[in-house]
Amino acid sequence: MARVVVDVMLKPEILDPQGQAVANALPRLGVSDVASVRIGRRVEIEFEGEADLERAREIADKLLANPVIEDFQIKVEEA
């Protein structure tokens, strides 16, 4: 078993209402030194055999990320 992690984040120029809402809530927790919060998806793909980066990239591209508004990064994670 091997794990590939795909991090999908909104492109920097795209509005991120989620991150915005969290950032706005922080002062109520007494936190004031945070400049910004962005929220995306973390996708963990477990392969049955070897971690297949190419495969994962294809999956990310077709299924996990919306290329119009999102970018993604892929990495193999050590078990």
Binding site: P17, Q18, A21, V22, I39
Partner: protein
């Protein structure tokens, strides 16, 4: 007899909850999320909606509102609190009720008229219903799937804290078909479907939702008497 309805930024069914309380015979008081004063209300409703857009997790941000500190304290002292939909989510996030509400298993928002069956009518919000009674009220949510670990679920069941289950189909994948639960003391109730949308012939599928509001009114009258 005063029932308070809280408005958070993004609350949507606050007007409906107030209307239902009014139809049931209560005076209603609108409570504002940023104001910790409960204005002497005899019961509180946390209404449905998308507080803070329901971004991050439903109810996660709302629970930090100043009014919630007061509600938590008052609930501990026995104040009746009803959380409907988003209100239920907030109650779980605030640890006034156990468990959590997660994404519907089919991943869609779903709005339909839903049958529930009461499994326990102990507690201050359900006195006007009877055990085994079936009611039809609207359900509408994207994250209404109740989850908790087995131990918690077993305890809820053993203590009679599961108030109602979905009947004739589970609209969101909730564990053990849970639609509504209460705390041990019986004064805090969370329900995913919307009793406040079933209080008038013209606008709802039934009048079955009115009982929650009439129950608490009777309860309060009893306590005051």
């Amino acid at each position: 007899m005063k029932i308070g309805v809280v408005t958070f930024p993004g609350s949507l069914d606050d007007g409906d909850a107030a209307r239902a309380a009014r139809i049931a015979g209560a005076e209603t008081v609108r409570l504002w999320h940023a104001d910790p004063d409960l204005h002497g209300v005899d019961a509180v409703v946390l209404p449905g909606g998308f507080s803070y857009g329901d971004y991050l997790r439903c109810g996660a941000i709302a629970r930090f509102a100043p009014v919630m500190d007061s509600i938590k304290a008052a609930a501990g002292a026995g104040l009746p609190v009803l959380g409907i939909c988003n209100g239920f989510q907030i109650l779980c996030e605030a640890h006034l009720l156990p468990g959590a509400l997660t994404r519907n298993q089919h991943l869609h928002f779903r709005n339909r008229d839903q049958w529930l069956r009461f499994t326990s009518v102990e507690g201050v919000w359900t006195g006007d219903y009877s055990e085994g009674q079936e009611i039809l009220i609207p359900v509408k949510n994207g994250e209404g799937c109740y989850v908790a670990d087995d131990k918690t679920l077993d305890e809820l069941e053993a203590n009679g804290q599961i108030v109602a289950r979905y009947h004739n189909g589970n609209p969101n994948g909730s564990m053990r078909d849970i639609a509504a639960i209460r705390n041990e003391a019986g004064n805090v109730l969370g329900i995913m479907p919307h009793p406040e949308h079933a209080v008038e012939d013209l606008t709802g599928p039934s009048l079955d939702g009115l009982g929650f509001f009439t129950s608490v009114i009777k309860h309060i009258a009893g306590v005051k008497a």
